[in-house]
């Protein structure tokens, strides 16, 4: 591994050469920046991965069952497991999707589950991302370049090859494809994850399309080829949010959607990956109920732990939050990307008072969690080895079977005092090695 670390600079320049960047808007101006790569990998042992794999498959299967239920019978609400306030008041719940059964009954085809490991080695799920989780392309290409920079590292260590992600993704798309071409639908070059959209399209052999390249005709979705012919689309891996997907159904001002796409989807003539309406299941408030979903739908004990979470919505939890405010991290369920996260201990008296006032007024809007004492992981900082907070985004693909990708995106904070690892807030990334034995 030392050899690999020695070549970190070279790997970063190769990443630059391959255009591995992400976009960010600062003062309304688009900037492209490199996603800093740290060559020290996160290593997951074979046994640890077996455990995570079982837990992640279980979790995603339960979440898929939940989505299927919520958009059809709503048994989980009727049976009093999840209060209806957490479903119908969620901004992720789309009434327009009610009664729609997606091809093969799969809602979350690509799930990004964010985990952290505590100092005692326990893994906790921090967040489920079932809408448009991004990030798989980074460790995928980093591995390719690491293998070039330090081949012997990969001879001497027994590491699962993670470069099969595109193959897994393609199989997932093919499984639900309704007899047409696979397309990856990007809002365009100025999207933060544009590199990933184009890279995955290249690697899966899908067509990368923008809003002007698609058209709905007689209940089918078509790709408009330059020669004037139309090609039927069987699956659309959309990388835009639900509300922009179809101006005839959702946000009518959307210029990046495909008019009437939802009608095609309703008729089962195209698979939308991931299904619209998944936001109801990855809402930070719903997170609390995932272990209950596992018990309810799968009749199994949850394998993975949630971070200890409190819902101010419940009186008992609210009292606990008020009593232990300074030791908790508070999250606004409507925010993402590391935004809307505040630590009780870091608030001034005034901030605390106004936060509590808001929380009591809108209890459904917030969750509170115990601050997990993350296991720091080593990174190289200007030639020195230092320890930083990091998380792991595991990717679970649901097609014919539910498969956990033998890798993941490890993001770390470059700031020694920060728990926020998001790339948009200056974080870097690492490769994630899963040992094969």
């Amino acid at each position: 591994m030392k050899n690999l670390m020695k070549h970190e600079k070279k790997i970063n320049s190769l990443l630059e050469r391959y255009g591995v960047k992400f976009g960010i808007y600062k003062n309304n101006i688009f900037h492209e920046q490199l996603f800093p790569f740290d060559a020290i990998p996160r290593v997951i042992t074979h046994d640890e991965f077996i455990y995570l794999e079982r837990g992640l498959r279980q979790r995603v299967d339960a979440l898929n069952a939940f989505l299927k239920d919520i958009y059809s019978e709503k048994r989980i609400v009727k049976d009093g497991i999840v209060p209806e306030e957490f479903i119908f008041a969620s901004s992720g719940y789309l009434v327009e999707c009610d009664g729609i059964m997606p091809p093969k009954g799969i809602y979350s085809h690509i799930s990004g589950i964010d985990l952290v490991q505590a100092k005692d080695g326990t893994w906790y799920v921090l967040e489920d991302n079932l809408r448009v989780p991004s990030g798989a392309s980074y460790p995928m290409i980093a591995r390719e370049l690491c293998r070039k920079s330090s081949p012997m590292t990969f001879v001497e260590n027994h590491i699962e090859d993670n470069r099969d992600y595109a193959k897994l993704l393609k199989a997932t798309m093919n499984h639900v494809n309704t007899d047409g071409v696979n397309v990856i639908f990007t809002p365009g070059r100025y999207n933060a994850a544009y590199f990933e959209h184009s890279y995955l399209a290249e690697k899966t052999g899908s067509i990368l399309v923008g809003p002007n390249d698609l058209i709905v005709k007689e209940d089918y979705l078509y790709f408009k080829n330059y020669d004037g012919t139309l090609k039927k689309v069987g699956s659309i891996y959309r990388r835009i949010s639900d509300e922009y997907l179809d101006p005839m159904t959702f946000y009518e001002e959307s210029l990046i959607g495909v008019p009437h796409l939802m009608e095609v989807y309703k008729k089962g003539h195209v698979a939308i990956i991931n299904a619209p309406g998944n936001g109801v299941a990855d809402d930070k408030g719903i997170y609390y109920f995932v272990p209950k979903m596992i018990e309810y739908y799968l009749k199994e004990e949850p394998i993975l732990n949630n971070a200890p979470t409190y819902l101010p919505f419940y009186k008992e939890d609210r009292e606990y939050v008020l009593e232990h405010f300074d030791t908790l991290v508070l999250k606004d369920v409507a925010e993402a990307g590391g935004y809307g996260v505040v630590f009780g201990s870091k608030m001034t008296k005034e901030e605390k008072e106004s936060f509590i006032e808001l929380m009591l007024k809108e209890p459904r809007r917030f969750i509170a969690q115990e601050v997990i004492d993350f296991k720091d992981i080593a990174i190289q900082d200007e030639g020195k080895m230092v320890e930083r907070k990091a998380d792991l985004r595991a990717f679970v693909l649901s097609g014919e079977k539910t498969v956990v990708w033998k890798s993941g995106l490890t993001r770390f904070s470059r700031n020694p005092d920060s728990f926020i690892v998001n790339s948009s807030q200056g974080g870097g990334f690492k490769d994630t090695w899963v040992l094969s034995r």
């Binding site: 255009g19 399209a201 923008g210 330059y226």
Partner: protein, 220 residues
């Protein structure tokens, strides 16, 4: 017919045009720079030949801004950015490997800040452009994709050579490349105007302005 979105055809064509513009203008700049060593006012003539506004204060200002001023619309770096902007949306069509050479060209051009020996650095940028085209030819399976980029390249070269008032031999050569490419392509072009251009090429005194206008209108 392969699968290419309509707006990608445009990107492919302009990728060809801008990459050629960078390539040819760097080569012209090499010649011009050499002449400037003996005549510090030569840059006035250079601007006139290239039909770019002479907004420069002096020779030093011209050299620095024409090479790497992002705010100068006619600079080499601005044209490379335009090539890059078209390239970045074409990963699917031309592949990551091909794209890397344009990334390298841009990254190396952005790094130029020493105007003592920068001609050597510019040579490297030129090398990357050549590698970019070679990689496109070597790795892109779709003949349509390759052909559209090459058409852009041939159109641009013809346009630039006419603007630069290159000698007849060079222009004839550029025209022959263009003729071969335009007939090989699957995208529509103005056939009548092309015949007119072909006839112009036979004239003893080439009507440069008219020829430039036709080249600009050949492909919409």
């Amino acid at each position: 017919m392969g699968i290419i979105a309509l707006d990608k055809v445009d990107n492919l064509l302009w990728l060809g045009r801008y990459s050629e513009r960078v390539y040819t203008t760097i080569k012209e700049f090499f010649k011009g720079y050499d002449l400037m060593l003996d005549d510090e006012n030569f840059y006035h003539i250079y601007c006139k030949h290239l039909q770019i506004p002479n907004i420069y204060k002096n020779q030093k200002d011209f050299i620095e801004r024409y090479v790497s001023d992002k705010d100068d619309m006619d600079s080499i770096i601005s044209n490379l950015y335009r090539a890059y902007d078209n390239c970045i949306v074409l990963r699917n069509e031309i592949g990551s490997e091909t794209m890397t050479y344009l990334e390298l060209a841009l990254s190396d051009l952005e790094k130029i800040n020493d105007y003592e020996s920068f001609i050597i650095d510019l040579q490297i940028v030129l090398d990357h452009i050549l590698a970019f085209w070679a990689c496109l030819d070597d790795t892109v399976a779709s003949s349509e994709v390759r052909s559209i980029v090459k058409l852009g390249k041939r159109l641009e070269r013809m346009d630039l050579y006419l603007r630069l008032r290159k000698d007849k031999e060079d222009i004839d050569k550029a025209f022959r490349f263009l003729e071969y490419r335009i007939n090989k392509n699957t995208i529509a072009f103005n056939k009548e105007e092309f015949i007119q251009l072909k006839n112009m090429m036979k004239e003893e005194k080439l009507p440069y302005y008219q020829a430039i206008e036709i080249v600009e209108r050949l492909v919409d």
